[in-house]
């Protein structure tokens, strides 16, 4: 696992996003085991307590579950994974729309530009 960290943002959020992406893209599958705190800490050269916090937050969001004595696993609920996917897509879209609006595009222009770009991409 390699993450390019931005030291100016909370590290645990960056690791959370990274793990979510791994799940959405299928690199980590539903029910897969997640590395131990210590393992990940030394791999990423991060404070173990920060990793611990990352996992706690992921548990709170029910993306990761702990099985007593066995370790941590990616949730086996596919619906949860779909939910993360939608959430991340909506984040991305929100930022895109905001950026386009800042450039002065009206909403219908944005829709036109996007559908045109998608078409072009298909024809490539």
């Amino acid at each position: 696992m390699t993450i390019e960290f931005d030291n100016n943002l909370p590290i645990y959020l960056q690791i959370m996003n990274y793990i979510k992406k791994e799940i959405i893209t299928g690199k980590l599958k539903a029910g897969d085991k997640i590395p131990a705190v210590r393992e990940l800490a030394s791999e990423l050269q991060i404070n173990p307590n920060t990793i611990q916090r990352t996992f706690q937050e992921l548990e709170r969001e029910q993306i990761v579950e702990t099985k007593r004595g066995l370790g941590r696993y990616v949730t086996s609920e596919e619906s949860k994974i779909m939910e993360i996917k939608k959430e991340m897509a909506s984040d991305l879209l929100g930022r895109f729309i905001h950026g386009m609006q800042e450039l002065g595009f009206a909403n219908h222009d944005i829709v036109n530009i996007v559908s045109k770009a998608v078409e072009e991409k298909d024809n490539e």
């Binding site: 931005d6 030291n7 100016n8 590290i11 210590r38 030394s42 050269q45 991060i46 404070n47 307590n49």
Partner: protein, 232 residues
Amino acid sequence: MENILQLNDVSKSYGGKRALNQVSLQLGPGKIIGLLGSNGSGKSTIMKLAAGLIHPASGTIQVDGKPVGLETKKITSFMPDRPLTENWMRVEDALLFYQEFYADFDKTKAEDMLGFMKLNKRDRVRALSKGMNERLQLTLTLSRNAKLYLLDEPIGGVDPVARTKILDAIVNYYNEESSLIVSTHLVRDIERIFDEVVFIRDGDIVLHDEVENIRLKHGKGIDEMFKEVFGE
């Protein structure tokens, strides 16, 4: 939980020059803490006070709830900014020296760490490069099963490769129930291993917070923050 290190109104001067100005500080257990400041800010003074090597002019210092003294030295492992080993020693002699000196020295851990650090037992301490010597000092310091580890400038003056190795070793071999205080002015390379940082300037503590809090509150990392606080 009991603080692992507590300073109450501690002052210290060297030949009329104030090194610490009524400093109060509480550090909890189970954390990696960065003690950050430029040269001469008072970092080493705090480390030496905690290790019991020097005494404050006024104020009190406690380690694990007990006043600094013989009892606290047993649970404090200090890595000074200058090596404690002698030049005639080989790496194996340095290990023996520590083993005889400290009851909590863990030989198995030390041997394991030597391998990790790529140190050879038969090497002479004198012949070690600066980076390899730092690796040896760190091995000796972390091989004690202490409650409080004090690393004074562990990455000063070593090249980036040795620096990475030293950081790896800290993350790998640090025992989560203990606390580890690292003093340094090289912030960028090391900030991701900290739970908390303490900024010290001219003998005063100017900031003490959790690193993730600083990033959340200010939208900047510790290195940026350090430059802002210490920039001229």
